[in-house]
């Protein structure tokens, strides 16, 4: 902090600032703190809820759990990495149609996205 001594008149005047009276300002801010969820948070939560609803509507929660469990047991990451590196090596840049394009089954990808959505919703809920 600045500890000037020997003020000139201007410094003396500046050192006595006028302060604004509260007049309900703190209460107004306090009331907004409790409900301070931004539009971005709402959109994010909404998207998460949409995903969950979609999953529950398409397949039962029990089936989702079983699928996630079997997916986790099934995925062999070293195999996937090998497959990826083989695919990258085999790309023929002269023609996109010549690509040997095999990927994880679409249902597995969907489940991965669903799992990420669930994790996102839980992280959002735990933050607020």
């Amino acid at each position: 902090m600045n500890n000037n001594s020997g003020f000139d008149p201007l410094d003396r005047m500046l050192a006595q600032p006028a302060l604004i009276a509260d007049k309900g300002f703190s209460e107004r801010v306090g009331s907004k703190l409790g409900t301070g969820i931004s539009l971005r948070d709402k959109l994010f939560a909404g998207a998460g809820v949409f995903w969950l609803t979609l999953i529950v509507a398409v397949v039962s929660p029990q089936a989702v759990y079983e699928d996630l469990y079997s997916l986790a047991a099934m995925v062999d990451f070293s195999e996937q990495l090998n497959l990826l590196s083989t695919q990258i090596r085999s790309i023929d840049y002269t023609s996109l149609q010549s690509m040997d394009y095999t990927v994880l089954q679409s249902s597995s990808i969907g489940l991965l996205v669903a799992a990420m959505s669930i994790a996102a919703v839980f992280s959002l809920l735990s933050r607020n």
Binding site: M13, L14, Q16, P17, A21, V29, G30
Partner: protein, 187 residues
């Protein structure tokens, strides 16, 4: 146990609304006065002050406790002001309306003397960087280095803004007092 450091600890560690509300009460007078000096419009300054405290509450986890809490608040307030200034297309101008604004403002201050009112009017004629540096350094007691950290401004710029601003203030206040003396003689 309601001293500032324990309130900050409670607000940071527990995200305690009540502790933070007490901190708002402690700091609102200075933060709002700082923003009024920068914005020159009471309503805008009030909105920015609210935004400042709400942003501060959301970013509490990023407060490391290494610096002064009020300095951290002024940094957020200044950032809010800069964002606002960018968002408005017209340049902030000191107009004749500002004297009217100050009359409205005089009801908003805790108490304000004629001397303080003259100072607020004189500060309104400076550039925002000059006002911000002078307010933080001379009115709120931060060192040049602390002001440099708060405003994220090079130390040399802080010093030159203060020096230039004070020279302008002296001229403005001298001109005004000369005008008052002339008016007194004439009457």
């Amino acid at each position: 146990m309601n001293d500032e450091s324990s309130l900050i600890r409670r607000a940071v560690a527990l995200h305690d609304n009540d502790a933070f509300s007490t901190l708002v009460k402690m700091h609102q007078g200075r933060v709002r006065a700082f923003l009024v000096r920068l914005c020159k419009q009471y309503d805008v300054a009030d909105d920015l002050a609210q935004e400042t405290f709400i942003n501060a509450f959301r970013k509490l986890s990023s407060y490391k406790g290494s610096g002064c809490f009020s300095g951290w608040l002024y940094r957020i307030a200044y950032h809010c002001f800069l964002q606002h200034r960018r968002s408005v297309s017209r340049r902030l101008q000191v107009t004749d309306d500002y004297s009217g604004q100050l009359e409205v403002l005089s009801d908003s201050y805790d108490s304000i003397s004629t001397e303080q009112m003259d100072m607020e009017q004189a500060l309104a004629q400076l550039k925002p960087d000059e006002t911000a540096t002078i307010t933080l350094c001379h009115s709120y007691g931060f060192s040049h280095q602390e002001v440099s950290d708060i405003l994220k401004m090079p130390l040399g710029s802080v010093k030159s803004n203060i020096s230039r601003g004070k020279t302008k203030l002296r001229k403005i206040l001298t001109r005004e007092s000369t005008q008052e003396q002339r008016l007194e003689k004439a009457s």
